[in-house]
């Protein structure tokens, strides 16, 4: 029995990271440091999902932290599949979009629709959480099973062939799938915002309203800007590269 669960949103299965890394290096030639998985899990916690074998007696309720709902910390069910996904940080076409960094399912657990379910969960989260216009991925031109899933089942389209994309010289199809139809209805949210505001105002008229006092005053502009100006260094990650560079420059500017 396989359960599809989020990696690091809620409830968090972040304990499984080493097992996910093992699943990847067992199945695929493209491998990453644990830190790269962490980077995904902590930057886009909504987008990655894991397929685990349900423990014999389920997941004992209530984890270690005061019974916070859904806490499954300290449990290590067997990982048989995962999807590791991200948002493209500097999209060349200027369009906000998601990208599947890596997906795999153990050979022993194929034909159960696990990969499809993982993909659908991730796609939906990309649309809802990040308003992704589309999701992109690469697939080996020889990988028929995966192609069938992406093209026939999920509706991806081949955008182009990327010559010698893989380390062993094989070409890749660059594929994508539009996601706008799964976007959240922000207009509705904003409408409700307005309603809530009205409601609050009415309540506020009865109570004391000292909103004026809380303003921060002049400090805001300048400092805020400076912080924004500390731009993150963009790094290529994955093989041979660490996340080290995503830290701000360690500095002694004084």
């Amino acid at each position: 029995m396989v359960d599809i669960v989020p990696l690091s949103s809620y409830p968090s299965y972040i304990d499984l990271l080493p097992s996910i890394q093992t699943c990847n290096i067992t199945n695929l030639p493209e491998n990453y440091f644990l830190k790269y998985y962490l980077y995904h899990a902590l930057t886009w916690p909504q987008l990655s999902f894991v397929a685990v074998v349900r423990p014999k007696n389920g997941y004992p309720a209530g984890g270690k932290f005061g019974g916070i709902a859904g806490d499954v910390s300290g449990q290590y069910p067997k990982v048989v599949g995962y999807v590791l996904a991200k948002m493209e940080e500097e999209p060349s076409d200027g369009m906000q979009h998601g990208h599947i960094t890596s997906i795999s399912v153990m050979r022993t657990h194929r034909r159960l629709g696990i990969a499809e379910r993982l993909m659908r969960m991730s796609q939906r989260a990309m649309a809802e959480s990040h308003r992704a216009n589309y999701v992109s991925l690469h697939v080996r031109v020889s990988n028929n099973a995966a192609l069938r899933l992406y093209r026939d089942t999920l509706g991806f389209e081949v955008e182009k062939v990327e010559s010698k994309y893989y380390a062993d010289g094989e070409d890749a199809y660059a594929m994508h799938l539009k996601l706008q139809d799964q976007w959240m209805d922000w207009k509705a949210v904003e409408k409700r915002d307005r309603e809530e505001r009205k409601k609050n105002k009415k309540e506020g008229e009865n109570g004391d309203d000292d909103e004026e006092d809380v303003d921060e005053g002049d400090e805001v502009g300048d400092l805020g800007k400076k912080e924004d100006g500390e731009k993150m260094v963009k790094v290529k990650m994955g093989r041979g590269l660490g996340v080290g560079d995503l830290v701000e420059k360690s500095d002694v500017q004084s």
Partner: protein, 834 residues
């Protein structure tokens, strides 16, 4: 006293700082040298230069220079800050914190120093210090949300939920208007606050808060999960039902949601009919899913079960789902269900399944092959094992589908259970050849080589999917990619061969990977605040605190401790494996010397091979780059055979490094406690040794290893060369009295242990060792009894292999036992003594 710089040099100095920030390290050094030529004692410049050097991999030289800088300018915050940064690079966080604190005292307003200090406090879990740092950072820049969130995290992790919530609320109250929906930082901060409220236990308020903020949070799934859980736990059943239905609509493949729905609906566990109806509804809504079909098999009984499992099996066999057996075997703890499954699938292959007739010949063929494959796994499984039948079925499956990788894999597994790792590796290799481009099967083939102690062949297979041009070749790449499973299996194979240097080498490699993983969190202390994904960050911090609880760590720690114990008990193994004489009798001193000489010669041969390999790689790489892309210089391992590790003066002390996290985080692991005892007793640390025994006793009072250890401990106490300090003695006596009272006649105690556990071979083995401890002259009888235990109906191959080790320990002749075991398991290879 510091030298003031003239204005030209001052601007050069600023240039150095810029060079460093822009990672123009070589330029930076040049510019620094330019300043230093005229101002050789300018501390700040020296400090900057040393910082740059440290980034060029010259940490040692950098320290020398940084110390000189400090001598020249004790009052410079730059010098102290750099000194701290160097310590940080060395991972000496305590010293780094001290240096930062000095720097901060000299320049209390410096934000960079304050921030560096805060990051380290977080890394070290100095929450009080972190709260202080974060409070002062907030005071400087209260307009930035990150600073509020960071302070809230500090309070939260220190356990002060109320204060954490208050900080978040204070910031929220400064917002004049609700931020736009697209503001993820806001969305996340709201959800973070919600989880803090829930963690405080006030679900009512958490739910209320969630209603207020949830509709505009963009992590839709998280909001749904939280809501469903709160509602259910608050007993608001009909709303909970709705919430779980919504979750299942999104993802019908999560058993937790079904459980939630069932609880919300209040369906009793015993009402199988209602439960089945519920699951059937979801099968209809989601015909391609598995969960709703599979879960009912857990609770259905009798004819209902038979009918349901029949449908399930046939559907999956027709589809040829390879995981079918893995999915079914969990039912086998119920032997009635096991038997139903067996007779059903046996029925399919003997042609009695009614539904087959309507399939095409080809479809029928696949159905049949899948069924044989299923039966092969069934008879290979320990709860339904019949290896000849397993082999028969797998051969039939292979005959029908000679190219099916899974079938061939199963054949290898049957051989494994036959106790024949040689054949198992051969058969797995055949499976690999069926699909050479698939890494999964390559992984399996490599693993089976390692299980057969063929380390080189295993590595060679791995090389088909690694970057072999990496420094250190295939093995180097596997280290770089943190391939824990391989390093662990490799280590265990070396340990089985008593090649302790290499075994320790690999165990330490995995240990170091865990250190790296712990280190990995550092960058996220600042990164995650910028990204605003604080829930995931807090979960990560907590996970890091229990990192070594992971089964991967437990496994290598147990292995490493065993290796160190072996090394302690048989110091000759430092030179490599020593042949154990099959005739048992402790070899004469002459023989020992001969064996040692041989082992040393072998060791020299291996060293030469390694050296040659290194040379070859060096030659090959001389024109290629020896630097990895990130500019870090990768060095060849100077001690590939682990000589430095194995030549330790104090193996027991070295083992502590592995043992301490194990006892702290996996205290419920009985094997860990037993091994802990072995380490402590050899170090004459009686209290901790006893603590391990007590812990083991609490977990599994009749554990066989514990039985032997209790006895040994008792005997040790009785024959101490000098009395223990009175206080220690008292504690020990009180505690051991609970486990093995002094009044107890030990021989009787041992014999009654045997009779109470006469059906368990491990218990018998332990008791026989115990008997020898009590009566050294009983060896012959024990050997006889051990041999007789081979007739036990429950004895397994692994247990028989353990008996061989035991005979080794007793210094007994293994031939008779090995021959009898060989006859009992004619297909096995593990009892062939060489």
């Amino acid at each position: 006293m510091p030298q003031p710089l003239n204005s030209k040099d001052q601007s050069l100095f600023r240039q150095v700082v810029r060079n460093f920030e822009q990672k123009q390290y070589k330029k930076g050094i040049k510019t620094a040298d330019q300043v230093l030529r005229k101002n050789p004692k300018h501390g700040d410049t020296q400090a900057m230069k040393s910082l740059i050097m440290s980034h060029l991999g010259q940490l040692e030289e950098a320290f020398v220079l940084a110390k000189e800088a400090l001598r020249n300018d004790m009052k410079s915050h730059i010098c102290w800050h750099v000194y701290g940064l160097l310590y940080r690079q060395e991972k000496n966080y305590e010293e780094a914190i001290k240096a930062y604190r000095f720097a901060l005292r000299l320049d209390p307003d410096s934000q960079p120093i304050q921030r560096d200090l805060a990051l380290l406090q977080m890394q070290m879990r100095d929450f009080q210090g972190y709260i202080q740092s974060r409070t002062s950072m907030l005071q400087v820049r209260p307009a930035i949300r990150q600073n509020w969130t960071a302070l809230a995290i500090a309070h939260h992790l220190s356990g002060d939920l109320a204060e954490a919530e208050k900080v978040l609320t204070t910031y929220e109250d400064t917002l004049k208007d609700i931020p736009p929906v697209a503001d993820m930082e806001h969305s996340e901060a709201c959800l973070y606050k919600n989880t803090i409220i829930a963690e405080s236990g006030d679900l009512e308020r958490a739910l209320e808060h969630l209603e207020k903020i949830g509709y505009r949070c963009t992590d839709v799934l998280a909001v749904m999960e939280l809501k469903a859980d709160y509602l259910l736990r608050l007993g608001r059943k009909s709303e909970a039902e709705e919430a779980y239905t919504a979750l299942l609509d999104r993802n019908p493949e999560n058993s937790v949601y079904y459980n939630g729905l069932i609880q919300a609906k209040g369906i009793p566990e015993t009402d199988h009919k209602a439960l089945k109806a519920l699951y059937d509804e979801w099968v209809e809504k989601n015909p391609r899913g598995d969960a709703a079909r599979r879960i009912p098999l857990d609770f259905l009984e009798g004819d209902d079960f038979k009918q349901a499992v029949d449908t399930y099996l046939q559907r999956m066999l027709k589809k040829g789902v390879p995981s079918l057996f893995a999915n079914i075997k969990l039912l086998y703890t119920n032997s009635a269900k096991r038997d139903v499954v067996q007779s059903l699938v046996e029925g399919y292959v003997s042609g009695s399944a009614g539904s087959q007739a309507n399939g095409s010949a080809e479809g029928n063929n696949e159905f049949l092959a899948s069924s044989y494959y299923f039966l092969a796994q069934h008879y290979n499984y320990h709860l339904s094992r019949n290896l000849p039948k397993a082999m028969e079925n797998v051969d039939k499956a292979i005959e029908l589908s000679p190219k099916a990788v899974e079938y061939q894999m199963t054949k290898a597994r049957v051989w494994k259970h036959y106790g024949n790792p040689v054949k198992a590796a051969e058969e797995m290799e055949k499976a690999r050849l069926l699909d050479e481009k698939d890494r999964y099967i390559n992984t399996k083939a490599a693993k089976y080589q390692l299980r057969n102690n063929e380390n080189e062949k295993g590595l060679d297979l791995m090389s088909k999917f690694t970057r072999n041009e990496t420094v250190g070749g295939t093995l180097g790449d596997l280290h770089e990619m943190q391939c824990v499973w391989f390093l662990t299996e490799d280590a265990e194979a070396f340990l089985r061969q008593k090649k302790l240097g290499l075994a320790l080498k690999r165990f330490h490699s995995v240990f170091n990977i865990f250190e790296t993983w712990q280190e990995d969190q550092f960058d996220f202390h600042s990164f995650s605040l910028r990204k605003g994904m604080v829930r995931a960050y807090v979960d990560m911090v907590r996970w890091e605190d229990r990192l070594r609880e992971h089964p991967f760590y437990v496994r290598i720690a147990l292995g490493a401790i065993k290796a160190y114990l072996l090394l302690n008990d048989q110091p000759d193994l430092v030179h490599g494996p020593m042949p154990s004489a099959p005739n048992g009798t402790e070899g004469s001193e002459d023989e020992r010397k001969k064996a040692l000489k041989k082992a040393k010669k072998e060791q020299q041969r291996l060293e030469k091979i390694e050296a040659d390999k290194r040379e070859a790689r060096k030659a090959a790489a001389s024109n290629a780059k020896s630097q990895s892309v990130d500019g870090e210089v990768k060095k060849e391992d100077a001690d590939p055979l682990g000589n430095a590790l194995v030549q330790t003066k104090d193996p027991l002390q070295d083992a502590m490094k592995f043992l301490t996290p194990l006892l702290e985080l996996s205290a419920q692991n009985v094997e860990a406690q037993c091994l802990g005892y072995e380490i402590y007793i050899r170090r004459n640390k009686y209290l901790p040794a006893l603590k391990c025994l007590s812990a083991a006793h609490a977990i599994e009072p009749s554990n066989p290893t514990l039985h032997l250890q209790l006895l040994q401990f008792r005997k040790t106490l009785d024959s101490l060369p000098e009395a223990l300090p009175a206080q220690t003695a008292e504690v020990i006596n009180t505690e051991i009295e609970k486990l093995l009272p002094k009044s107890q006649n030990l021989e009787e105690w041992n014999e009654s242990f045997i009779s109470a556990n006469k059906n368990s071979v491990p218990h018998i083995q332990a008791a026989l060792s115990a008997r020898q401890l009590l009566k050294p002259d009983s060896k012959a009888q024990s050997e006889k009894d051990l041999l007789a235990s081979l007739d036990s109906p429950t004895v397994t191959i692994d247990e028989a292999v353990a008996a061989l080790d035991l005979l080794d320990k007793w210094g007994s002749n293994k031939t008779a036992y090995a021959e009898k075991a060989s006859k009992k398991w004619p297909e096995s290879s593990v009892f062939l003594l060489n």
